[in-house]
């Protein structure tokens, strides 16, 4: 008998921490959704790190009155719609005040439907597809630019600055890359350029020699490369150089990741890419750099957007003094501040816009090169 009592007591003691684990101090919970496993884990981790940095900074600046602590609840989507929906539901259960994410447009769209049913604010730092904000969801915001902003800017750059007449376009059949490639093809045709070919490769491909041989044969002025993630793009650049392709490579915002040059090395020199204008000389950027780099390494595109998205959300919650979505939304709309990546101001449909400029890779660095308004940047 005594033994049994002892064993029951032991089991009880083991369970106690679990029970108390559920009782927190008063914390504000922010959710984040991004692929933490799978092929896009690198970009997903950048998003998580950016949000963590933002919370850290915000807490140091006094946090939010009424809350002892702000906590990030990072969820893995693996870029799979089903897991994204599960993650969204999990975040609803955790009663988060808002969600930063997701990465793939195909995860953001179904997840936002679920979050919308519970009126939870979602700010995506990375999904550029038009559909994300164009479905009339009240609580869907976007920190990055849109495909239909970027594509015309890229086409204009190709025509006016590079004097390109013929294009060879390659995309890898994702919502993001194909949307952008189609946009560039359309804009280029309108501006009187010829699209010699528009080829597709598949996600997960690493060998592009067949397509690149084709491009070499076509010998277009411009080789427009639209891929999801910097790593296949770096591989493609490297292979293109090795194959002796002469066309000028132009690419887009997903490659704005310093590791692009690590992988492609000197093949990356002279590659152009369009990216939302980020001024690295602002005090905000420098402060972010000082904090982020020692902890997580080089700054990548989505880290800055995710930082800004989290900061915007926290600022709005602080101003509203409540986590009630309608009030926070009103405050979000009022926001107008200088973030790390850009000046944050939301439009009526939830977009925040982005001025796309062209960067050039020079000596292993992204250098601002061309502005659609002012032309060459010196």
């Amino acid at each position: 008998m005594r033994k049994r009592v002892a064993s029951i007591l032991a089991i009880g003691l083991i369970l106690v921490p679990f029970l108390f684990g559920a009782v927190y101090a008063k914390t504000l919970r922010i959710g984040s959704m991004s692929p933490l496993t799978g092929p896009y884990a690198s970009d997903g981790t950048d998003i998580k790190n950016g949000a963590l940095t933002a919370i850290e900074v915000f807490e140091e600046m006094g946090g939010i009155p009424g809350y002892d602590k702000i906590e990030l609840m990072p969820q893995d989507t693996a870029c799979d719609p089903r897991q994204a929906v599960a993650a969204a539901n999990k975040l609803i259960n955790l009663e988060v005040a808002g969600v930063i994410g997701a990465y793939c447009s195909s995860s953001t769209i179904p997840a936002s439907d679920v979050l919308d049913e519970e009126d939870i604010i979602m700010i995506t730092p990375a999904s550029t597809n038009e559909k994300v904000t164009e479905r009339g969801l009240a609580y869907m915001f976007r920190m990055c630019g849109r495909d239909d902003d970027q594509a015309p800017a890229a086409a204009k750059f190709i025509k006016e600055q590079l004097g390109g007449k013929t294009l060879f376009i390659v995309d890898d059949k994702t919502t993001y890359s194909q949307g952008l490639a189609d946009g560039v093809a359309k804009a280029a045709k309108e501006m009187g350029m010829t699209v010699l070919a528009h080829e597709h490769v598949n996600q997960g491909d690493k060998d592009f020699s067949a397509v690149l041989t084709m491009a070499k044969k076509a010998n277009a002025d411009i080789f427009y490369m639209s891929l999801q993630g910097f790593s296949p793009a770096a591989m493609m650049t490297l292979q293109a150089k090795r194959l002796g392709m002469k066309s000028q490579i132009v690419t887009q915002d997903a490659m704005f990741q310093p590791r692009f040059m690590d992988v492609a090395k000197d093949a990356a020199e002279g590659v152009y890419l369009t990216f939302g204008y980020t001024d690295p000389s602002t005090p905000e950027y420098k402060a972010f750099e000082k904090r982020y780099v020692p902890k997580y390494g080089k700054i990548a595109a989505y880290a800055t957007y995710s930082y800004d998205a989290t900061t915007a959300l926290l600022k709005a919650i602080k101003a509203a003094g409540t986590t009630d979505s309608a009030k926070v939304k009103a405050e979000l709309m009022k926001l107008d501040f200088q973030g790390v990546a850009k000046n944050v101001k939301f439009r009526e449909n939830g977009d925040s816009g982005s001025t796309y400029i062209a960067f050039k890779v020079e000596n292993g660095k992204f250098v601002p090169y061309w502005d659609p308004e002012k032309g060459l940047i010196k």
Partner: protein, 303 residues
């Protein structure tokens, strides 16, 4: 014509890599009738080990003075590392299941595959592991056709490894023991062949070849990543089956065929459907020759 030759060279390079990976599949299958889904991960681990070794040599400054020695050294180290990994994996995840249904071993292999690729992600980080590109710069340039030194190295190294393996399997005592174990474990045990040792050896050789393919992959494409084993793994599995699974010559031919079909399908018809062509060829061949190109008429084996 030049276009054709260029694509032919591309196909040869890719096909050679598939063949090297497919050999590991086919050898393991030949000996214990297991589809080793973790084999693609051995390939990725080889790529990682090679990258680490090369980076270390470069950091020590040996790279400038003895590039060939460093490269050979990293090949040897990576192959040894993968052999070491594969022997352990076999002992942990497959050996206890040898008497059970083959599907349970298959499942264990799938679990191992998930485990290893995530293990690589967690230990080496989520970003690509970069290969030094100073090696094998340049190549022969005949106008439209460009053959880089790297491609020549890869193709010749692949050929050398394949010939070496053929000699090992068909001309040596060890090879004979391997073939005997593949045919009948009980009988080979009666003539004093330790089947456990032979199985370990098979895993080690297969993983070593995959590691060699991994380094070549890294050199050729510039970087390696934790998830890189998955797609080539499936393609190589297809190649092994196409050639007749369990048959070493078949795996070589299968690898080359899959590589060629993919490149020519992409180059001449449509690059987005290139995997479809590869699988259609596979299905067509198996429809007319249900045991693969080189496969002998095996008796009823089912799931």
């Amino acid at each position: 014509m030049e276009y054709f030759i260029q694509q032919l060279i591309n196909g040869l390079t890719l096909g050679g890599m598939y063949a090297l990976i497919a050999l590991g599949y086919t050898m393991v299958y030949g000996v214990i009738q297991l589809i080793n889904f973790a084999h693609g991960e051995f390939f990725a681990a080889g790529g990682y080990a090679g990258a680490i070794a090369l980076a270390y040599f470069a950091g020590m400054g040996y790279m400038e003075s003895h590039p060939v020695l460093c490269l050979t050294g990293s090949f040897v180290l990576a192959m040894a590392y993968c052999a070491y990994l594969a022997i352990g994996v076999e002992k942990i995840a497959y050996k206890p299941l040898r008497k059970e249904s083959r599907l349970s071993a298959l499942l264990s292999a799938l679990g191992m595959s998930i485990f290893l690729s995530n293990g690589m992600m967690l230990t080496r980080g989520v970003y690509d592991e970069v290969y030094p590109s100073e090696l094998f710069q340049g190549g022969f340039d005949f106008g439209m056709v460009t053959i880089s030194y790297l491609q020549i190295t890869i193709v010749s190294l692949t050929a050398a490894l394949l010939i070496g393996l053929n000699i090992l399997v068909f001309k040596t005592k060890i090879g004979m023991a391997m073939r005997a174990t593949a045919q009948d474990k009980t009988m080979s045990a009666l003539v004093a062949i330790g089947s456990n040792r032979i199985i370990s050896l098979t895993f080690a050789i297969g993983a070593g070849l995959a590691a060699a393919a991994g380094i070549m992959y890294g050199l050729y494409y510039g970087s390696v990543k934790y998830d890189m084993g998955f797609v080539p793994g499936i393609k190589a599995f297809a190649a092994a089956v196409l050639g007749g699974i369990g048959n070493i010559t078949g795996a070589m031919i299968g690898g080359l065929v899959i590589g060629m079909v993919e490149i020519f399908g992409a180059g001449y018809i449509s690059s987005e459907y290139k995997d479809v062509f590869a699988f259609i060829i596979l299905i067509a061949v198996l429809y007319f020759k249900p045991t693969g190109i080189m496969g002998e008429n095996i008796d009823d084996t089912r799931v």
